[in-house]
């Protein structure tokens, strides 16, 4: 297992230059995510247009995996319906925790870059924090913790 499997170029790039790293002042939904083990803290903002995620963003601080994962999340769920976003969440959950046989890896696009995290069990929570936080935002919870 190579470190480059974890810190792939896409992940390093999204950590250095996170996309949609901003607040949405008039967000319809927002939730805070916290990983007490490593101190990762982020807020996910969602602007809805009916059932569609018109805009999504995040801010906060965290490790490369959590920041890159959140950045990739915003790119991949923008424009999708809530149900489609939830479907991606479930796919990501499988990708991060299980053999990816059941996962449509090409369908995940850039998100597939996170598949290496599975080999580093201590880091799975870093990658999944933003997804749990998005899920909480979509279900109008305020806070989520991965502990």
């Amino acid at each position: 297992m190579d470190l480059k499997d974890l810190y792939r170029d896409v992940i390093v790039d999204h950590n250095r230059h996170p996309r949609n790293f901003r607040e949405i002042p008039d967000a319809d939904r927002r939730a805070d995510g916290f990983n007490p083990l490593c101190g990762d803290k982020l807020t996910v903002y969602v602007k809805l247009d009916g059932d569609r995620i018109a805009d999504v963003s995040f801010n906060g601080s965290g490790c490369a995996i959590s920041v890159a994962s959140a950045s990739l999340l915003t790119e991949s769920v923008k424009g999708k319906s809530v149900a489609e976003a939830e479907g991606l969440f479930s796919q990501m959950h499988q990708l991060l925790t299980r053999d990816d046989a059941a996962v449509d890896v090409p369908g995940l696009g850039k998100l597939a870059a996170l598949s290496g995290v599975r080999e580093f069990p201590a880091r799975v929570k870093c990658a999944s924090l933003c997804w749990h936080t998005l899920d909480a935002a979509l279900h109008s919870q305020d806070q989520v913790s991965t502990e």
Binding site: Y7, C63, A64
Partner: protein, 417 residues
Amino acid sequence: MSAVPASRHAVGTLDVAAIRRDFPVLERMVRGRPLSYLDNAASSQRPHAVIDAMSSYYETSHANVHRGVHTLSQEATDLFEGAREKVRRFINARSSREIIFVRGTTEAINLVAQSYGRPRFGPGDEILVSWLEHHANIVPWQMLCEQTGATLKVAPITRTGEVDFEAFAALLSPRTKLVALAHVSNALGTVIPVHRFIAAARTHGVPVLLDGAQAVPHLKVDVQALDCDFYAFSGHKMCGPTGIGVLYGREALLNAMPPWQGGGDMILAVSFDKTVYNVLPYKFEAGTPDIAGAIGLGAAIDYLETLGMDRIAAAEHELLVYANEKLAAIPGLHFVGTALEKAAVVSFTIDKVHPHDLGTILDHEGVAIRTGHHCAMPVMEFFGLPATARASFAFYNTRAEIDRLVDALHTAREMLG
């Protein structure tokens, strides 16, 4: 038993190569590379002498203590009480009645909170801690405050990570009922000049508990010279087993305290009309104790004393100086905690590289360090950091291991910086 430390004949300084052979785990590989174990402030490793003492006890002498008249019970009791005497001598307590075996520092502090504090403290009373404390020296007092209505006061720290003595002294008042202070900070390595703090508390007649978890493994502790009232520490940070620790308490205070757990061994006589509690130290040791753990702790003390606490402190200080010099040369590295008096702990951050990523990248190079909040979230909050990376050295570490840490940090900077 291979219990004779190889360094026994060394004069002056420690023979680290020989010492490393005493620690079987130091021979293992991690991710294809030799292990560099630099997480000693979280837990140290064990020498053969400790492992063998525990195995030997289980293989030849195990029985319950303080109970039977049969041979094994007597042997187990002698070994267990022998370990208590070793602890007494190691920290220079007046009497082995002042040595209570507990699970660790955390349980020792909870014992004092519940047995000393709970019956005595009430609304208006204050417990004084510092901003440097480990959660184990914060949360038991918060719980006690909820139970009694007492108030927790916190002495601030400085940017160098030292407890602000003037501010501490100003917080002492007739309302202060207990001072609970770290002897050495786990997160930053600061050695607190506790003599001064204890003397100040004395002038107000306030008893002092010291959290010695990080101090006992690295410097000579003499509870009589310190003149503290309670002293708590753990076996696993001083080459002993997990699950065993010690509460030292001044005999008069311990005598005046009620038991905090009831059960076997802590009684002299039980009837439904009246139960008579046992004498010290057994009053505070309900149930079958961690006999093997105590024996292992005794063996750890023997091991450390054979090396010599002075020589251990000198060797670790040398590693600290070397690490400081090497790490300071890494661009973008910031030390967190720069007190003049420090144990061999280096807490730091690196620009653009989160400590958690450092932890993973270093592990890949076989280098084990701690990353996170170090169970001292208020310290992190004070410095405005979510986490730091922390390398903590023991006498069995080498300069070569620090070089490997430095190389791995460069790799991390190249990957993510």
